[in-house]
């Protein structure tokens, strides 16, 4: 029969957690600059305004 310990968790077992918070990696992120945003807007606008594909007759 196992006995659950009620002793407080020793601080040394949290060392990895502490190190992880002291040395976080920078979050990935995409960032578009204004010029790229403008190009995307124009390209997207052209697609939206283009005439639909003609339906086959018959």
């Amino acid at each position: 029969m196992s006995v659950e310990t009620t002793l407080p968790l020793a601080t040394e077992t949290m060392a990895d957690d502490v190190e992880a918070l002291l040395n976080p990696t920078e979050a990935d992120g995409t960032f578009r600059d204004s010029a790229e945003c403008a190009v995307l807007l124009l390209a997207g606008g052209k697609v939206l305004l283009a005439p639909p594909t003609p339906r086959p007759k018959g």
């Binding site: 310990t5 077992t13 190190e19 918070l21 979050a27």
Partner: protein
């Protein structure tokens, strides 16, 4: 045991926020004493509290080293416990080594006359400040923003003072990426670094960072610390009281 560890891991970020929230008002002013242990709900004998103090580092005593307020004995005892319980690992990162050194320096200052002073022991590496890209340098320095206190880490401050324009670029990049904690940390370094470009508009930028990210207590702490640094004068590393001891 695994369940306990999992619980502690999941609680740590929240307890860090709790302790940071207790420090921020003490930086804003008021009467002489501040009382972090008496303010937070997490008891000082909780291992997660000790770990949280280690994560916040020297900032737990920032009201003393930046604003001259008197810590309680309970705060000093908990801080000292965190210094002893989480030494930097052999072969560990320069960030961890600097963070720990900053804590020892802050503790020495708090137990003496409050003037921040350089820590004892070997000085961790600072070459990375000059060698890293401005993006990476800013990210790393933001993790050490608790050391942006005049006299607390002179070799590191000296290294930072050689790249104020790069750090300013990093601050802007962090804002554009909406990384408010990095922006606040970088801004705090800029607040005490000579040569920070006037065109940056640091005060306005930090106000913006606080507006957008101030719900994070660590962001609020760095912004408030930067305000204290700016109010002390010229952005140069001016000691708070008396001369800086070598």
């Amino acid at each position: 045991m695994e369940a306990q560890r999992s619980d502690a891991t999941s609680r740590l970020p929240d307890v860090v926020q709790e302790f940071a929230s207790a420090v921020v008002p003490a930086l804003r002013g008021g009467d002489g004493r501040f009382d972090v242990v008496g303010t937070v709900l997490t008891p000082a004998d909780d291992p997660v509290a000790v770990a949280a103090v280690r994560v916040l580092g020297a900032d737990v005593l920032a009201p003393r080293t930046l604003a001259g307020r008197t810590p309680t004995e309970a705060d000093l005892a908990l801080f000292e416990h965190a210094v002893r319980a989480f030494p930097p690992k052999a072969g560990g990162s320069a960030l961890s080594a600097w963070s720990h050194r900053g804590m020892r320096a802050a503790l020495a200052a708090a137990r003496a006359d409050g003037t921040a002073r350089a820590g004892d022991g070997d000085v961790p590496d600072t070459a990375w400040v000059a060698e890293l890209s401005w993006q990476r340098m800013t990210h790393q320095l933001a993790q050490l923003a608790a050391l942006a206190v005049p006299g607390l880490a002179p070799p590191l401050a000296e290294a930072v003072a050689a790249r104020p324009v790069d750090l300013a670029r990093g601050f802007v990049r962090a804002v554009r990426r909406r990384d408010w904690l990095q922006a606040a940390g970088a801004g705090r370094w800029l607040a005490m670094t000579p040569g920070t470009p006037e065109s940056l508009g640091l005060a306005t930028g930090l106000d913006f960072v606080h507006h957008m990210g101030g719900a994070d207590a660590r962001v609020a702490l760095h912004v408030q610390a930067a305000a204290v640094l700016r109010s002390r004068g010229d952005g140069a590393a001016t000691p708070y009281a008396g001369s800086v001891r070598a």
